[in-house]
């Protein structure tokens, strides 16, 4: 199977580790992934901020670049959500019939990482090792737009050494919402504060999720209050093994020590 890799603009610029981890997991399972360098952003930011026309060239590019693959995978629930639910919207409004068909076609084979692993490749135990106490935030778009259900959790449960703890009120939004975090900064912060309180209540060392953007937001808050709790993307946990354990970064390690 030809698997194309969509690396979201945020992961590309800010969290390349998440992309590397996605590649590592799939390669370890014996699959070859391709990263077509002509790709760019999925356009979600434009659509959600009210600039659908500006999103059109990005939607066209996506449909074009990923058409040749059997499956496309992205380590981001919200970008896959955008491909599945927003590309059609933009294509219907501004695109040609050809684009509408192309968009439907490629959306049907675009998967979030846990969906690809569990539904398409049929694995739940990817042979990972992550000896830490972890709580999982399901993120709204994975939960409600994609309905990934407990696929991420079944992957996590199979991880060696992990101590998975339930997050109270897990289905509540963390308050990121793209530009919402900036346009409605106060409300966003109030939502984030509750999410952080729940994370801290679990006593976990890490809060994990399938979306770098939510993690950037929650992690930014946890860092600001010097909580000592880190964030880690689902892909990074799945990529870690006994031979190549997850490198707890320096800043995080210090705060963790400070906490102990």
């Amino acid at each position: 199977m030809k698997i194309g890799l969509l690396i979201t603009c945020l992961a590309d610029a800010m969290f390349p580790d998440v992309g590397r981890a996605t590649v590592a997991v799939l390669e370890r399972l014996g699959h070859t992934v391709a990263f077509p360098a002509e790709q760019s952003c999925c356009g979600q930011m434009h659509v959600n901020t009210g600039y659908q026309k500006a999103a059109l060239p990005l939607v066209e590019r996506y449909a074009d670049v990923f058409a040749p693959y059997d499956a496309v995978v992205a380590p981001s629930g919200s970008c896959v959500g955008s491909v599945r639910h927003q590309h059609g919207l933009v294509a219907r409004r501004f695109g040609s019939t050809g684009l509408q068909d192309a968009v439907t076609d490629v959306a049907g084979k675009t998967y979030e990482l846990s969906e690809l692993l569990v539904d398409v490749l049929g694995v739940t135990d990817v042979g990972a090792y992550f000896p830490h106490r972890v709580t999982y935030h399901p993120t709204c778009h994975s939960l409600r737009m994609l309905r990934v259900g407990d696929k991420p959790l079944s992957l996590l449960r199979a991880v060696d050494g992990i101590r998975l703890v339930d997050l109270p009120d897990a289905d509540q939004c963390c308050g990121f919402g793209g530009t919402f975090a900036v346009k409605n900064a106060d409300t966003s912060t109030a939502m984030m504060t509750d999410k952080m309180r729940h994370v801290l209540d679990t006593g976990a060392q890490f809060c994990s999720a399938g979306d770098s953007s939510c993690l950037m937001h929650i992690g930014g808050g946890l860092s600001r209050i010097r909580s000592g709790v880190g964030t880690v993307h689902l892909a990074q946990i799945l990529a870690a093994t006994r031979d190549r354990p997850y490198a707890v970064d320096q800043a995080h390690a210090t705060t963790l020590e400070g906490r102990a």
Binding site: P16, G50, D186
Partner: protein, 493 residues
């Protein structure tokens, strides 16, 4: 074009409660600072949420019911003019009088004239969103008529000189000690030893209201639904005050948005299951009152139905936004909304708060009059999941955001800073070369936050709002695409 009927206008300015004085973020700031309010809201929405979830889970066919509700509404809206005419004919045949009101001003004038013609200076009211929307109480007041709200929560709001903040529980932002204070200060004839026990408070309100019910000659109600086939109007409520208003006074005036229509009597089967479970978390609502025109010597002997447009035809004309009219005002979307829970109902500046308000108010007024509302959502989607008629609120929000930015662009010669940023980003991102270069140059961000590995407060626009409460991770040494080029350059791609 000559001879073409023109669309009735959007809800007019200067009348009614569909627009706020402040933008959503500014108004939310007050609510966020009020810790008592946040505690009241958090507690109340959490309680209703849990109750709703458990009664919804009882029904094995909940999803089918939702789909049935949605389809009934979609069908009705597609044939609205026909069904409205059918309704008018049926109501008239049974002795009622139908009035058509293009907007809030016209509706208020019709009702005030009807009340004045009866020569009364007092009316009793059943809680109604439509009359809140057009500010009928204020119009009556200006004409020297006192309108008494008889719903307990609505009474609390009225006596407290306050505004409702929730569709179903208008006083959700008040706790019982606040309510006791309001009663003591405003009811006049209340026992000074009043406690804040809910039963005692309800008893005081009951005594106060009973006198009104027995003396009022005219009642004003809204409608939860109207049945086109029979001309039957229905109101559901849970205190019995509605039933008193609908049966005791001689004259009944109902003000109803033109979308509150169902084609047939049997359609109620669906909505009477969807509504109570979604709204109060009950299996059935305690009081369902239905009336069809007039019945000699029983109940009101004069019945007027005011059909209110006030922007609804405009909403109907918007193919992407139209589904907002399917709303049955259950308030489930409010109770699950994390933004509503923090910011409170008043921040939406309209009688329609929460997720439905964020789409319905701008649709009724025109998006520019409520331009901050479509952005008052993190698009988490909880509202869509909860909505008993499956209104895709997130998608309509996104549609209205686009309408706002496009209208702005048409009306202003210079694009907003945001529009420039979005277009530039789109320009950069659609070319791999430009994007790669941009990513590389973006690494100047590494200069910031060298010490802790994160970036703290930065006084730049946008970045400031972010970094006030959150650290920003320091950009990495190498982007993903550069890493890929280094490690997988020989790969086919």
């Amino acid at each position: 074009m000559l001879g073409m009927p023109t669309l009735p206008p959007p809800a007019p300015r200067g009348v009614g409660h569909l627009r706020g004085d402040e933008s959503f973020p500014a108004a939310a700031r007050h609510a966020l600072a009020d810790t008592q309010l946040r505690a009241n809201l958090g507690h109340a929405t959490r309680t209703i949420r849990a109750k709703r979830a458990s009664v919804v889970a009882e029904l094995p066919d909940w999803e089918e019911l939702r789909e049935a509700g949605r389809q009934l509404k979609v069908h009705t809206m597609a044939h609205l003019p026909d069904y409205l005419e059918q309704l008018e004919a049926a109501v008239t045949a049974r002795g009622g009088v139908v009035h058509w009101a293009r907007d809030a001003d016209e509706a208020n004038r019709i009702v005030v004239d009807l009340v004045k013609a009866k020569g009364v200076d007092e009316v009793v009211k059943v809680k109604s969103m439509a009359t809140q929307e057009i500010a009928l109480n204020e119009a009556l007041e200006a004409a020297g008529v006192s309108a008494w709200e008889t719903d307990l929560a609505e009474l609390i709001v009225q006596l407290g000189h306050d505004r409702p903040s929730h569709i179903l529980v208008p006083a959700i932002h008040r706790n019982r000690s606040e309510i006791r204070r309001i009663f003591l200060d405003e009811m006049g004839d209340v026992d000074p030893d009043l406690t804040d026990e809910p039963a005692v408070l309800a008893g005081a309100a009951r005594l106060h209201l009973r006198r009104k019910f027995l003396s009022a000659e005219v009642a004003i109600s809204g409608a939860n639904y109207a049945i086109a086939e029979t001309g039957t109007i229905g109101v559901v409520e849970s205190e019995g005050n509605g039933r008193m208003c609908l049966t005791l006074p001689k004259t009944l005036i109902t003000v109803m948005g033109i979308e509150k229509l169902v084609p047939r009597y049997t359609d109620l089967e669906v909505f009477l299951q969807l509504l109570p479970r979604s709204s109060t978390g009950e299996r059935m609502n305690p009081y369902t009152s239905m009336w069809t025109g007039l019945t000699p010597d029983d109940g009101p002997q004069e019945f007027h139905l005011v059909l209110l447009d006030n922007g609804r035809t405009q909403v109907l004309a918007d193919a992407e936004g139209r589904d907002a009219l399917n709303c049955i005002r259950c308030s489930a979307c409010l109770n699950v909304c994390p933004v509503y829970e923090r910011a409170g109902g008043h921040a939406y500046g309209s009688v329609y708060p929460g997720p439905i308000g964020a789409i319905l108010s701008p649709l009724l007024t025109g998006v520019e009059d409520n331009a901050s509302l479509p952005f008052a959502s993190s698009l988490c989607g909880a509202c869509y999941d909860a909505c008993p008629v499956k209104i895709n609120i997130p998608e309509i929000l996104v549609h209205l955001r686009a309408r706002h930015t496009e209208t702005y662009a048409e009306e202003h010669r210079a694009p907003s800073a945001e529009a420039v940023a979005m277009r530039t980003l789109s320009y950069v991102m659609r070319s791999p070369l430009r994007w790669t270069l941009a990513l590389r140059s973006g690494r100047f961000g590494r200069l910031l936050g060298r010490r802790r590995g994160t970036i703290g407060e930065v006084p730049l626009p946008v970045v400031k709002q972010w970094t006030e409460t959150r650290d920003l991770a320091r950009p990495p040494q190498q982007t993903f695409r550069d890493w890929w080029a280094d490690t997988h350059s020989g790969d086919p791609s």
